[in-house]
């Protein structure tokens, strides 16, 4: 299977710790000013007015970072748009690593307290209907790579992968584990 060009990874904010999306606007602007992420970052755009929308987006050349309101649940949404490895497993792992790192940066920003992310759930979405049509075969083809990444960041803890959502939407897989872990531990495992 050719690796999908677009891959999204979302970490949901823990209930009662999410912040208004507009609070993230100055944080994303600071990321551009300080080159907080080693990527070409371009601008910040506000979709806070759209119910269950993208919230606030930090637009980059190869990736976007969003404080997303989709699914009716706030969270950090990372989108790989172009560039990076062509290997499916590496591409999924790299997207997960970047999502975790960005979530950790948000958690660490004092202006966003008490924001915390729930590390027991990860949403993977593949908005590339050419290379990742939303069907059972593609899900099966992705399962091993997704499982491998989950094993690594959750340190082998038992987890489930389920295909969810509207069949017309991009293929969406939700990974869940019951073991709560610190976000920085996940970042370390993803990076190490």
């Amino acid at each position: 299977m050719r690796a999908p060009t677009r891959i999204q990874v979302k970490l949901f904010a823990s209930p009662a710790t999410d912040v208004p999306s507009r609070a993230v606007i100055p944080v994303f602007h600071r990321w551009i000013q300080t080159h907080a992420i080693d990527e070409l970052l371009i601008d910040v755009t506000d979709y806070g007015h759209v119910p269950r929308g993208p919230g606030v987006l930090l637009i980059g050349h190869e990736s976007d970072y969003g404080y997303d309101l989709g699914e009716g649940r706030a969270g950090l949404l990372y989108t790989r748009k172009r560039g990076g490895s062509d290997d499916l497993g590496e591409r999924i792992h790299d997207a997960t690593r970047r999502a975790l790192r960005a979530a950790h940066l948000l958690e660490s920003d004092g202006s966003l307290a008490p924001l915390r992310f729930d590390t027991r759930e990860l949403l993977f979405r593949f908005p590339d209907r050419l290379h990742a049509p939303n069907d059972a075969a593609t899900f099966e083809a992705l399962r091993a790579s997704l499982g491998s990444t989950c094993d690594r960041i959750w340190s082998g803890a038992a987890h489930t992968l389920s295909r969810e959502g509207d069949p017309r939407a991009p293929l969406t897989v939700v990974a869940r584990t019951e073991t709560a872990m610190a976000l920085d531990a996940l970042v370390r495992r993803a990076t190490g």
């Binding site: 299977m1 050719r2 677009r6 507009r22 606007i25 100055p26 602007h29 551009i32 000013q33 070409l40 371009i42 601008d43 910040v44 755009t45 506000d46 979709y47 806070g48 007015h49 759209v50 119910p51 269950r52 929308g53 993208p54 987006l57 637009i59 050349h61 976007d64 989709g70 748009k81 172009r82 290997d87 499916l88 497993g89 590496e90 792992h93 908005p127 590339d128 209907r129 050419l130 290379h131 075969a137 593609t138 099966e140 083809a141 992705l142 399962r143 091993a144 790579s145 491998s148 509207d166 017309r168 939407a169 991009p170």
Partner: protein, 752 residues
């Protein structure tokens, strides 16, 4: 890493969709893809490529010149080193893809396709424009051929969505179901759209060309008077007693920096003449329209140059010479083809218990159709935006309740037609579940806005940021019903894509310099009218800092609610009390404190960066500035306002003269920075201005060039003895823009 045995991927969208795309359209997209490749290889000149991609709807976006001010410094955006996609336009910079939706007419399946391409190539948001188009933002140019193929497979083209072409043909979204239309203009607008699309006679314009249709003369929906060419449906009884269809035809309208009202060509043009007349006009416009000076290239300037009667004479002469074309009338044989059929029988909304929120939503978002038992439901889209998931939900709702009767509106909303009345509560619940059941359609909270500084290269102020905040602010207030009916429209710059001229309260983004900083402002524009097909344009009464616009709107609307006479319209109210009173009401809001004390005013809505206009690409220019410049500019603003007072008082000649005086004051204040001895003589001021500011390019706008300087020169040569009101109106508009340009020039000089 380990992977399972993969399913085979199709090679490309081109292969996958080959049998679903119209061959001609497919070939066009293949050619476009080749042109992309040739440009990458440097085999197509960048300006030619820019116009090529524009004609396929692929537009530039802010920061695509590779520069962005991050609030502290201007940063270079290090895009990969590949050829540009136009002058100063980086190949890899995100762009905007405009998608033409003729008449705003959509099927559920098309809406689903739009959702798919928004997710696969954009940021998941579909944006409805003020021309019933969709726009996707942050699209990479490399993705556009496949994006176009997927749309083409759904029967949608992006051809001629931008560039110097016939833009999306718009029409009232209620045609066919409206209670007071003459007849349904859908088949005519559809026929004209596809007749002119790609027609050889429409390929050599100096600027864009906009066409609109309206089913009636009195209401807002068609906005015919602000178009290059507009058709208003008319019926009459013929000599043989049968009902004849035709159109009142208007031409030469437009908004932009110098708005013009279209003028009546013919109060009853037979239906069979609609297409050939448009073709003849296109030929004359292509032949005689301005090609070099973009600022004077719209049809309205050709009207000005030739005179309306002469232009009409030339068009009629051209029409007489046109070789006959069967397409002019063949569509008339099958008008019924475009008739919508209701999915379900009409029904009555009974008395009973309805879902919470239904009554408030229904009061503003449900409108009875002419056909008994059916209604049009309006989906209020905040700033014209909806998510891909919402688009799919909307497609489901349409399939369940009304079929393929979806239309976008110029107010950046979507309507569902032919909803059986009894099903309105179920539609409401389904929309609510999708986050699409906001009430307030076409009320003061339903603010229209262009993209502004969010994504537009020309944006000066954040029209979307302001509109979002203003809408939320107004929704929280208990408003008088007369205030609730008002319309607010915001444009981020003088190009007026937000159509601020025709709103009850129009907002036009401008910048002002305070000390060593710049402050985002909006001009408050009063006197506009969407009714009577955009029957009147407003004029700016003064600029207020962006962050104080909600307070300004509160004051104006409170005054209206408190002091209006029974049934007095907002326009009549403003006319009666005088704009001076409104201006005085806002006077204290215009005073900007120091950066230290009021730092919030020095950034824009939704953007914490220190405000700058540098991202527009304004270059540096030399010059020495002395403080009295600001006094001179302030005086010129006062004079232009006085000109409005004179116009309102029925003295157009004096108004035009005063407006020219305002321009002279602004020009003189700038000229004195170069020559302190500039006298008060008009000839001397204009000569000095020309020498130091026009001829040096110092006054040039980065996008409009010397357009504003030319307006001074024209005003200097004009006679003010017997000026018509519309000419005086335009003179005031030009003076206002000239002064804004003088502010921008002063800011550039000071920065340098």
């Amino acid at each position: 890493m380990a992977t399972a045995e993969p399913p085979a991927s199709p090679a490309s969208w081109k292969e996958l969709l080959a049998d679903r795309i119209d061959p001609d359209l497919g070939r066009e997209i293949d050619i476009f893809e080749t042109q992309l490749e040739l440009r990458k290889q440097g085999k197509i000149e960048e300006r030619l490529f820019a116009e090529t991609r524009l004609r396929r709807g692929a537009y530039g976006q802010r920061y695509d010149n590779g520069q962005r001010h991050d609030g502290l410094v201007s940063q270079s955006l290090a895009f990969p080193d590949v050829p540009t996609k136009g002058p100063h336009t980086m190949w890899d910079a995100p762009g905007m893809q405009r998608i033409k939706i003729p008449l705003g007419r959509l099927t559920a399946a098309q809406l689903e396709t739009l959702a798919e391409v928004a997710e696969d190539y954009s940021d998941g948001i579909l944006h409805v424009t003020t021309r019933q188009d969709f726009q996707l933002h942050f699209v990479h140019i490399d993705d556009t051929p496949d994006l176009m193929r997927r749309l083409a497979a759904a029967g949608i083209t992006t051809r001629e969505a931008c560039g110097n072409t016939v833009r999306n043909v718009t029409a009232c979204p209620y045609v066919g179901v409206c209670t007071d239309e003459s007849f349904d203009v859908t088949p005519y607008a559809h026929a004209l759209t596809y007749f002119l699309l790609g027609h050889p006679d429409t390929q050599d314009f100096g600027r864009k060309f906009k066409v609109a249709f309206s089913g009636c003369a009195d209401h807002a929906c068609g906005l015919v008077h602000m178009h290059d060419l507009g058709y208003v449906a008319r019926s009459r009884t013929g000599r043989d007693g049968t009902l004849e269809r035709g159109f009142a035809v208007y031409l030469g309208g437009g908004l932009g920096s110098l708005p013009h009202q279209a003028k009546l060509v013919d109060d009853f043009m037979a239906e069979g003449e609609a297409l050939p007349f448009a073709q003849a006009l296109a030929r004359v416009f292509a032949r005689l329209g301005e090609k070099k000076n973009r600022g004077r290239a719209r049809l309205k300037f050709l009207v000005e140059k030739l005179g309306f009667d002469e232009l009409v004479r030339l068009v009629r002469e051209e029409r007489a010479k046109l070789p006959a074309d069967a397409r002019w009338t063949t569509f008339l044989d099958d008008l019924a083809k475009h008739e919508e059929r209701p999915l379900k029988p009409g029904s009555t909304l009974g008395i009973g218990t309805f879902p919470a929120g239904f009554a408030a939503w229904s009061a503003t978002n449900v409108r009875p159709q002419r056909q008994l038992g059916y209604s049009v439901v309006t989906i209020t889209l905040p700033l014209g935006d909806l998510t891909a998931a919402q688009a799919r939900a909307l497609a489901d709702i349409a399939r369940r309740h009304c079929g393929d009767t979806i239309r976008t509106t110029v107010d950046q909303n979507i309507v569902l037609r032919w909803v059986p009345d009894a099903e309105a509560p179920a539609v409401y619940e389904a929309l609510r579940d999708a986050g699409l059941a906001s009430p307030g359609a076409n009320t003061i909270t339903d603010v229209t806005a262009c993209p502004g500084t969010d994504t537009c290269k020309l944006g000066i102020s954040s029209s979307r940021g302001l509109s979002s905040v203003l809408s939320e602010h107004l929704a929280k207030r208990e408003l008088d019903p007369s205030v609730r009916r008002l319309q607010v429209k915001a444009s981020g710059c003088f190009n007026a894509c937000g159509q601020h001229h025709i709103a009850d309260i129009g907002l036009l983004g401008v910048a002002r310099k305070v000390g060593n900083h710049r402050v985002p402002h909006f001009q408050i524009v009063l006197g506009g009218e969407t009714t009577r097909n955009a029957g009147a344009y407003g004029l700016a009464i003064g600029a207020v800092p962006s962050k104080r616009i909600p307070e300004a709107v509160d004051r104006i609307t409170d005054l209206y609610a408190r002091s209006k006479r029974p049934d007095e319209t907002f326009q009549a109210f403003v006319q009666r009390i005088g704009k001076l009173k409104v201006k005085q009401l806002l006077e204290d809001l215009t005073v900007v404190g120091s950066h230290e004390l009021e730092s919030d005013l020095y950034s824009d809505w939704g953007d914490p960066r220190e405000y700058t206009t540098g991202d527009m690409g304004v270059g540096e220019c030399a010059g020495e500035v002395v403080p009295f410049v600001q006094f001179g500019l302030a005086a010129s603003e006062r004079e232009v306002f006085e000109a409005q007072m004179l116009l309102d008082a029925g003295q157009p000649s004096a108004a035009a003269r005063r407006a020219f005086g305002a321009m002279l004051t602004a020009a003189q204040s700038l000229a004195r920075t170069q020559n302190q001895d500039v006298s008060d003589e008009a000839d001397v001021i204009v000569a000095e201005f020309r020498k130091h500011f026009h001829d040096t390019g110092l006054f040039h706008d980065p996008f409009a060039g010397d357009k504003f300087a030319q307006s001074l020169f024209r005003a200097h040569e004009a006679s003010y003895d017997d000026v018509a009101p519309d000419v005086a109106h335009r003179q005031i508009e030009e003076a206002s823009l000239f002064i804004d340009a003088a502010h921008a020039c002063y800011t550039k000089m000071d920065t340098a």
